[in-house]
């Protein structure tokens, strides 16, 4: 990568600015993984490949909602960003079928946070 200058920091920031693409983020901290986040992540990757969907799966740290692990945040254009909690295999399929492909939110598994960053 080579040494970065303050200018490079700007450049990387601009390059990473919201590009309007869809993504799925899986919380992959110890508690998430303990609750099965690694399997959820793997299944997303596998299913998205199988269905040839244009959505990126990312890893992230802990959102702080240990009670609802594994948690998955989803951004799809036209729908609000939501966090799904206690996601299992079925949940992954539902999220892909309904939220990603069907333009509708999945019921009974959205966890809303009230946080100011």
């Amino acid at each position: 990568m080579g040494k970065l200058t303050p200018k490079d920091l700007e450049r990387i920031k601009t390059a990473h600015a919201d590009d309007g693409k869809d993504w799925i983020k899986v919380g992959m901290s110890t508690c998430g993984i303990a609750a099965g986040a690694d399997k959820v992540y793997a299944l997303f990757v596998e299913e998205i490949k199988k269905r040839n969907l244009n959505i990126q799966v990312k890893k992230c740290g802990c959102q702080g909602m240990c009670y609802s692990e594994p948690s998955v945040e989803v951004r799809v254009k036209g729908l609000p960003d939501v966090i799904y909690g206690k996601v299992d295999k079925e949940g992954v399929i539902k999220i892909l079928d309904k939220h990603v492909c069907g333009n509708a939110l999945v019921k009974d598994s959205i966890y809303e946070l009230r946080t100011k960053r």
Partner: protein, 162 residues
């Protein structure tokens, strides 16, 4: 015998290599040894004492001070039962008793067949999933007493007795 001795010498030498010239390296070297052997065998500690030019007592005083280091070979599967506060409040002491009864061992002991070792740990950092049991690297959360048997049997070996 000579073969074996030589290989342990080499093993220890290679484990020490990375840390050899760093200050205060003893604990990190012990981590390397335990990672490799699963515990710190006495012959390895002796060899380490020779390599580092440190008395064996100096090495043992450190091993015995820290809970993390073991002097005996662990069982095939290590059960780490969390007795952190959150787990304790949610009944991990009951789980501990259940495991003790099922396996007929006390904390820190290994079952006769060498299959399970039972360790009590203070907080695995999964308080949201309390009570928690960790077997090897797999974590089981929100464990109920009646699930313990099922979890342990996942690790039992189904070899018929000869």
């Amino acid at each position: 015998m000579i073969e074996e001795k030589k290989s342990m010498q080499e093993e220890v030498a290679s484990l020490v290599e990375k840390w050899k010239d760093k200050e205060g390296n003893l604990i990190m070297i012990l981590h390397e040894l335990q990672n490799y052997y699963g515990y710190v065998p006495r012959p390895a500690a002796l060899e380490l004492s020779r390599v580092l030019h440190a008395p064996l007592a100096r090495i043992y005083e450190v091993i015995t001070f820290y809970n993390f280091f073991k002097l005996e070979a662990p069982g095939k599967h290590t059960i780490s039962l969390c007795l952190g506060t959150a787990c304790y409040l949610k009944g991990s002491a009951i789980l501990l008793n259940e495991i003790k009864t099922l396996l007929n061992i006390e904390e820190g002991q290994t079952t006769k067949d060498g299959l399970f070792q039972l360790d009590v740990v203070r907080c695995l950092g999964c308080c949201g999933l309390a009570p928690v049991i960790k077997i090897d690297d797999k974590i089981y959360g929100k464990v109920q007493k009646n699930q313990v048997m099922g979890i342990l049997s996942e690790y039992a070996e189904h070899k018929p007795e000869v």
